[in-house]
Amino acid sequence: MALGDKSVYSPLTTLKNLFKRPMTIKYPKEILRVFPKEGVSPNYRGLHTNDLEKCVGCAACQRICPFDAIEMKIIGQNEQGRAIKKPVVDYGRCSFCAFCVDVCPTNSLKMSRHYIYKIKTVKSLSAKDEVEFVKDKFRIMPDEKLGDDIGYNTGKAKKVLG
């Protein structure tokens, strides 16, 4: 054995940890101290944000999404009468792989650094429509709300997926 042979006292040396500062990050009060902004890495892939002016509704993101998580929703008519479609991300399917961000021709779809999104079930709902309720709550139309701290975006770098 390359390692020192077994001795009864070696495990007792870990008792010096008693006098070291614990590594725990006290979550609610203290955010991960590793990264400056909001504790999450500069290009973390979190919930989507979409600049609705720049987005032309070309459904490139829908085609590339490996898990069929993006649905195009019609939100109105433009002058020529064609429907304006915007992507709706179904977070019950999304795997946060950011292929859609790479493929977006107008760079409007980006991924923010927010990751907390949870749904509490409503007690009043019966079991059957509670299932639908949760599914709908997980379908979100990304907009500029989380736009301020953009994480993953290939705007400046070259397009990855072409």
């Binding site: 829908q62 085609r63 999404c65 069929d68 998580a69 993006i70 649905e71 195009m72 179904d90 399917r93």
Partner: protein
Amino acid sequence: MKLSKEEIIDLLKQRGLEVNDLYPTQISVIVNKENLINHLVYLKSIGFDHLSFINAVDFIDEGEFELVYHVWSYTNKVHVLNKVRIDRNDPKIPTIVDLWEQAQFYEQEVHEFFGIVFEGNKDLSPLFLENWLDIPPLRKDFDTREFSIRLFDAKPNGGDR
């Protein structure tokens, strides 16, 4: 006795097998069902002692299954893909459990997902799927999306395929 890849190709060609050289460390050999066993025994004798794994490919339009036996040799540093074609309607092939014992589980898995019967394999009971009544799932004519829509009422979101 370390054999280089070219020597192995010549050795196999002398045995009258069709060999093609894929990549610097990989060659593929077409073997027919009858002399599969003694082909593998021969390979094992010249140093191919690691059976990476056995898998099957379903060529539905040619109506054939292709079983690929991946064998690697630690001494010669060459990987051989032995490919065997069997008919799709009565897929039968002799087992190689007595050559390598782990083949038992690879064959069980291939049997469960393709329905290929390995003669001589004592226990071909299902390993992964429970209470499965449909056709073996990895066959090309099994549509998993349709299955998921019917059984778990999954709803596609319109991403075209």
